[in-house]
Symmetry: C2
């Protein structure tokens, strides 16, 4: 299959918006909308962010969702993306079709469309690599730097599933963990489910926000540095799924990995106290559980963690995509 055939047969059906011009041109257009355009870019490489023989549909979903979580955290309504797909030697048409099926499913799920992109061969000896630049519209982007002392720290969904799921996925067996718990954790790693629709709640109520990609406490530390504030987290309030609770019950040190491991793709927001209930209610109405886990205060950037009122130290067990 040539590049032109791959584009025409596999990817053109995904280019459902008018600006994509059926992928038959050098560039796409985005019409003015009155709102600000919000742009984010996240790339995934085989052997770094996913396992080369993961299901292609799951790789596609992950590549899109790690970008959609950024848009949601900025209070932006997603509408489209461009894709650069570098195919490893030995790629098959079946793989490409299944990858496109994964994109198509998420396009329906999230109401977005492919705008354009590039297909190319990966470097000799290298693996598949996927770069997505995703677009949304926002009345006002919600930044990280705008967290204020007194704000409540609120997270969506559950924390740590993917970090523990990666351990299982890589064969770190956790023998005592039940098969359903293990399957749930692996699924969370393979197919994160960011609360994409919660962009509305963020836009309406949050003072600052970011997505959790490098681990809850790791990312909260970044937020405190950007906003020049301090944060205190009550660990008893951090939402763990039943599967993560199972794993921690069997091996208590896994809790620190859950708190600092990556790939949650949930929203970490700071919300003025007067808005916190409304934010949580708005997330709930949008289908996502959100819970208060701590508070912002003045002071040098730091994340302090407490258990039953006693300050405690967390070991950083995070998975580092980069270093």
């Amino acid at each position: 299959m040539t590049e032109d055939e791959l584009i025409a047969e596999v990817f053109r059906p995904l280019a459902t918006g008018p600006g994509a011009d059926d992928l038959g041109d050098d560039a796409a257009t985005i019409a003015p909308d009155g709102r600000e355009l919000v742009v984010t870019c996240d790339a995934l490489a085989a052997g770094v962010h996913f396992v080369a023989d993961d299901p292609p549909e799951a790789i596609a979903a992950k590549a899109l969702r790690v970008n959609l979580s950024d848009l949601a955290a900025k209070g932006a309504e997603p509408f489209g993306y461009v894709l650069a797909l570098a195919l490893a030697p030995g790629w098959t048409v079946d793989w490409a079709r299944r990858f496109a099926d994964g994109l198509a499913a998420d396009q329906s799920r999230y109401g977005i469309a492919l705008l354009g992109g590039d297909t190319l061969r990966a470097s000799p000896g290298g693996g598949t690599m996927i770069t997505i630049t995703a677009f949304g519209h926002a009345e006002r982007i919600v930044r990280r730097r705008t967290a204020s002392p007194g704000d409540i720290i609120i997270v969506t969904g559950t924390i740590g599933d993917a970090a523990l799921g990666l351990k299982c996925h890589l064969g770190d067996a956790m023998p005592a963990l039940s098969a359903p718990s293990k399957a749930a954790l692996i699924e969370a790693y393979l197919r994160p489910t960011p609360p994409v629709t919660c962009w509305r709640a963020v836009a309406a109520h949050a003072s600052a926000s970011m997505d959790i990609s490098d681990g809850l406490l790791t990312d909260l530390a970044k937020l405190t540095r950007t906003a020049d504030v301090s944060a205190a987290v009550d660990l008893a309030n951090v939402p763990f799924s039943l599967a993560v609770q199972d794993a921690i019950g069997l091996a208590p040190p896994l809790r620190d990995l859950a708190l600092t491991g990556g790939d949650d793709y949930q929203i970490l927001a700071t919300v003025p106290p007067t808005e916190a209930d409304a934010y949580i209610a708005s997330c709930a109405a949008l289908g996502t559980n959100a819970v208060a886990i701590g508070k912002v205060s003045a002071g040098p950037p730091a994340v302090r963690t407490f258990e039953r009122g006693v300050e405690t130290t967390i070991t950083n067990g995070r998975f580092n995509h980069f270093g």
Copy 2:
């Protein structure tokens, strides 16, 4: 150097626009401009689109310019880009700094700024890969499909330098070719010089346009398929640089490679006959030579080539980035 340090020290100085928020956030913003936003995405992989030990400044320039040529061909004024940089094992801070220096030089040259992006490790065993999504504004995008019978086919710059330059660069020595000619060809391959400012001429005068990335006749054939027209090219009018003329003089079959080889990154436009002189004059005023090489006619999609009025057949010697 951690990812955060790399971003802060090496890439943040490139994020000179307000929407980039100093690369300190999950996403960038692009304010509404009244015009359409034009988006293009081209990626380069080591060992496919460049040689891993090419000068990092040149790799950076090429990665940007292959995108800027797309915008110019669409009649769009460039203003920014996002960058995903996957670094191969063994990357050095010196390499990254030189790569950023190359970006900085082109930012000044073309009046653009880094908006955001991602840095990551490349797949184990793989090479460096660079994905750029570039943005411009246009009153009306100039498509490929809008070429009409009677239009004049006009190209900017010179054709074939990069395809012959790649041959030299890969060590296909062309022993009889003079050292200055060889150096000029290699430079054209390493650092293409698309006529970025000619977006104004395209927007004002062209009926259809595309950039030449896969070879003049190869890309013209694509244009005829998209627009459902036929094209006739007078080979005597195709602009060859002195270095390409030298090479063809020594080895006449190289002419076909020059006509079908990739990486020119010039603009291939069709222009109504009443606008042709104005288009050429406008390009000249913008610092770029443009010449008429043929004509569009009705008929099934095809590219016919003529020499002194006699139809001739070209052997496709093009370099294929994909297959």
